[in-house]
């Protein structure tokens, strides 16, 4: 019998690298030559999901664009911890203007590159969920609607962490923030509010919309690379747990992101021109409690004065995501 190549690689593509894979099948993050777009010495907290997500994403974009990349940054943690005078962590050309205008600034950069005939230079804009779903939303929608040649990446940690953990329109129901305190009969953020930005982005009919988490590096890199192969407005929302805001241990950042996906709370999918074209299936489904309970921002739902009815409502949200996006394998 001729030698059959084995498709099974011990850890497959779950780990960052894998010595058993062909080098060109390995992740960008496994490469000794990755660009480290955001360098050591930045001032992000220990275990920062955003610092990690940003390096994952921008390194992938750098790889896909052969280093021909300009990054635009909204105000926020990422900006503050990466560029306090006199040191910058960025190794890519980078500009920060304001909290709410990163998509528009990126439009301007892209326009400049186009007018100068430098189509090889690609533009990425990035911001947190506050800068994206709230204050920058108008500019973002405008950039989408014009189908400007910009990849916008939202690092979603579900609140305004830089200013001390205030609610954003990406904050999940029941979550404790400094402006949705765990007091009163329905503690934490209210149910029935908030914005589903990936779906709003899809409604613009832009070429590409995707969600990803820092727990699924390969998927994240695949999506960034895929987005970078396209032109026009593209949007990727990356779930990046914040140890400070979530009230989680610094070593739990990736685990929490994994649980967000595995519980169905954060559906991971991609869509082209407004149509869902792929979902990252749940691999080992977990109940919502397993996701919520390690996070202090949900601590008021458990313990002595527990709110099982609110946990049930959160489970219902996760279940709806699972149904809506088909997150479970058919035979599960």
């Amino acid at each position: 019998m001729p030698f059959q190549p084995v498709k099974f690689y011990q850890t497959g593509t779950y780990t960052v690298g894998n010595r058993l894979l062909d080098p060109d099948e390995r992740s960008e993050q496994a490469s000794e030559n990755r660009s480290n777009s955001i360098n050591s010495g930045h001032r992000a907290c220990q275990g920062c999901g955003e610092a990690l997500g940003a390096r994952y994403a921008i390194d992938a974009a750098m790889a896909e664009s052969n280093g021909q990349l300009i990054a635009v940054n909204a105000t926020g943690c990422l900006e503050v911890f990466s560029t306090p005078y006199p040191e910058s962590s960025w190794q890519v050309p980078w500009i920060h203007s304001l909290f709410g205008n990163a998509p528009a600034v990126a439009t301007g950069v892209a326009a400049a590159m186009k007018v100068k005939g430098r189509r090889e230079v690609r533009v990425v804009a990035q911001g947190g969920d506050g800068g994206t779903t709230d204050i920058g939303f108008g500019c973002l929608s405008g950039m989408f609607e014009r189908n400007d040649d910009v990849l916008y990446i939202c690092y979603d940690n579900e609140a305004y962490m830089n200013t001390g953990v205030q609610r954003s329109s990406a904050t999940p129901p029941a979550a404790r923030t400094a402006t949705t305190m765990p007091v009163g009969p329905e503690p934490g953020n209210v149910f029935g509010q908030g914005k589903n930005l990936p779906e709003i982005a899809m409604a613009h009919g832009i070429p590409y919309v995707a969600t990803a988490t820092v727990a699924d590096l390969r998927d994240l890199e695949y999506k960034v690379r895929k987005a970078m192969k396209m032109h026009g407005a593209r949007y990727i929302q990356i779930f990046v747990p914040c140890p400070l805001g979530f009230g989680t241990a610094s070593h739990d950042t990736i685990r929490i992101a994994r649980l967000a996906k595995e519980s169905g709370m954060f559906p991971v999918f991609e869509a082209e021109h407004g149509e869902v074209t792929g979902v990252l299936k749940i691999r080992h489904k977990v109940g919502i409690e397993e996701y919520l309970s390690p996070q202090k921002r949900f601590a008021h739902l458990f313990g002595k004065h527990a709110h099982p009815e609110m946990v049930a409502r959160l489970q219902a949200i996760a279940d709806r995501n699972i149904r809506k996006y088909g997150l479970l394998e058919e035979n599960n």
């Binding site: 019998m1 030698f3 059959q4 084995v6 099974f8 690689y9 011990q10 850890t11 497959g12 779950y14 780990t15 960052v16 690298g17 894998n18 010595r19 058993l20 390995r26 992740s27 993050q29 496994a30 000794e32 480290n36 955001i38 360098n39 050591s40 010495g41 930045h42 001032r43 992000a44 220990q46 275990g47 920062c48 999901g49 610092a51 990690l52 390096r55 990466s82 560029t83 005078y85 006199p86 040191e87 910058s88 962590s89 960025w90 190794q91 890519v92 050309p93 980078w94 590096l217 140890p243 241990a249 610094s250 070593h251 739990d252 950042t253 990736i254 685990r255 994994r258 691999r283 080992h284």
Partner: protein, 542 residues
């Protein structure tokens, strides 16, 4: 940058000036933890170590790492009861890695490809006598030879292998496999003398000018028990039956064979009887299946082949063509107690498989030796009470398996070597064990164990062809890659990838990683996301 706007515009990557390592209260450190398989291996194999190379398809290197500890992988891959697989962390995930099947594949591959051992070290000028060519003796001879010592094995019988040949049936261990692996050891320059029974060890040593001796004569004397029996009843012991299978005259057991005992030997004999044409092979055992010392998979295979087992029964009497058994019941402590209920079974012969005793005659008169419960007592370094005489295998107190014997051989060889050099053998302290809770199993691909092919049932009942097949290269590779590499970095790059501070330095293939403590903030993500548990946090002195 000098002419760029002041303060607003910064040079790229300049945050390197900010040494965030000062934030740290605990630091990650790389370590090798002991994989449970390695820990459980009686032969002291570096299982994770050789699987690592098998995973990348470098079977020869895998084999070479394997035989550093065990020269008989093809035998091992067939007869070892693989405690490694019982200990394997993957068992808590789906099923244990088929370590034994990969080992057999490597062993068979080595025979097929004609791989030879690395040449011995420079000759030491020392001579060592090994008594007995069983697994323990062969193992010791192999290791001693590779250390550069001149080794002579003196074997009482006509063939090498000891219990591997005379105790384990062919359908479990084809003899050409055994012969090939023995020959490879002899090719190292080991002298093997057959039909050389050592009557007195001291004399033999003196005659041959040996500097040290390793005794590994095994336990070949079948234990008997008193069963009132008439003259017509054929009562034989299992060891004799199995030994005679190797000779010209096959044992005559009749059509109805009763085997008395509950160990693996009982199973082997019953299955052998079946193959020799017995219509009924019945094992009589005094306790229950759960309490049976034989390995469950062997019991299962025996049952598949039509062997019957009479549980909770003892033989009270053997008569003409039949035996009487008494039913037993387990008491509160789990010990069988007679019930007074009797029953008769047809039996042309009764085979006693009640364990074996050691022939200790060669040790008579040797000063300092301590014999207890029919076995030779040895120190932790395998040396008997007599300096320079070491012992191992079934003749010393231990579990009597091929694998344990091979382990004894290795251990004895190391200690003999040290003793010959006038030093103490320094064994490195064991690393802490990589228990399942140290792992992050998320990262491993889902994969069920590969099922080894089994011979069809008719041929199993009628021939001595090997029952269990081996893996081919494809599924051996698959099986090897199921290894979780517990406690040992396999360069998955997770630490390098998940560090938010780029504080892990990748040193290149085979060189693993290093922490850059200038920037490591001590978040512990690398520890949490290391699949195999080979990083731990250590508190900083602050």
């Amino acid at each position: 940058m000098a002419n760029k706007p002041f303060a607003i515009t910064l040079k790229p990557g300049t945050s390197l000036a900010n040494l965030t390592g000062t934030w740290r209260t605990a630091r990650p450190v790389y370590l090798d933890r002991l994989p449970p398989c390695n820990n459980a291996c009686p032969a002291g194999e570096n299982i994770q170590g050789w699987l690592f190379h098998a995973e990348s398809g470098d079977y020869e290197l895998a084999w070479r790492v394997l035989v550093e500890n065990n020269p008989l992988p093809a035998v091992m891959g067939r007869v070892c009861y693989h405690p490694c697989e019982t200990a394997c962390n993957r068992g808590q995930l789906d099923e244990a890695v088929g370590i034994n099947s990969v080992e057999r594949f490597l062993g068979d591959e080595a025979i097929k490809r004609g791989w030879k051992f690395d040449a011995p070290a420079a000759a030491s000028g020392k001579k060592v006598l090994v008594v007995g060519a069983g697994p323990s003796g062969l193992s010791a001879a192999y290791h001693l030879a590779r250390m550069g010592h001149q080794v002579e094995i003196q074997e009482a019988g006509p063939l090498a292998g000891g219990m591997m040949r005379f105790g384990i049936p062919k359908y479990r261990l084809p003899r050409e496999v055994l012969d090939a692996e023995v020959q490879r050891i002899l090719d190292l320059g080991v002298t093997l003398k057959f039909d050389t029974k050592v009557a007195s060890i001291e004399q033999s040593m003196k005659q041959g000018g040996f500097d040290a001796a390793f005794l590994a004569v095994g336990a070949h004397i079948g234990k008997r028990t008193y069963i009132p029996a008439g003259d017509a009843t054929k009562i034989v012991d299992a060891v004799s039956v199995l030994r005679s299978m190797e000779g010209e005259d096959k044992p005559m057991l009749g059509r109805k064979v009763v085997v008395y005992g509950g160990g693996n030997t009982a199973i082997d004999v019953a299955r052998t009887a079946k193959r020799l044409g017995a219509t009924e092979a019945i094992i009589v055992y005094r306790r229950t299946r759960e309490k049976m010392p034989a390995h469950d998979f062997e019991v299962e295979e025996a049952l598949q082949e039509g062997v019957m087992i009479k549980w909770l029964s003892t033989i009270k009497q053997a008569g003409e063509g039949e035996i009487t058994v008494e039913k037993m019941a387990l008491d509160e402590k789990g010990y069988p107690q007679p019930t007074g209920e009797f029953e008769t079974l047809a039996a042309d012969s009764v085979v006693l498989a009640l364990g074996q005793d050691v022939d200790l005659s060669l040790l008579e008169g040797v000063a300092g030796l301590e014999i207890k419960d029919g076995t030779v007592q040895v120190a932790p370094n395998m040396m008997t009470g007599h300096p320079g005489i070491f012992a191992g295998g079934d003749m010393v107190p231990s579990e009597r398996t091929v694998t344990v014997a091979i382990g004894h051989g290795k251990k004895a060889a190391r200690n003999i070597d040290a003793w010959l050099h006038g030093v103490e053998c320094q064994s490195t302290p064991k690393h802490e064990i990589a228990t399942f809770d140290k792992l992050n199993p998320w990262y491993y691909s889902d994969a069920d164990k590969t099922v080894r092919p089994m011979l069809d049932i008719i041929r199993r009942q009628t021939s001595f062809d090997e029952v269990q097949g081996g893996l081919d290269e494809t599924n051996a590779l698959f099986e090897a890659r199921r290894c979780l590499s517990c406690g040992n970095c396999f360069e998955c790059d997770n630490c390098y990838g998940v560090c938010p501070d780029n504080a892990v330095i990748k040193l290149g293939p085979g060189k693993r990683f290093e922490f850059n403590y200038d920037y490591c903030k001590g978040c512990g993500l690398c520890v949490a996301e290391c699949p195999c548990g080979s990083i731990k946090m250590v508190a900083e002195d602050i």
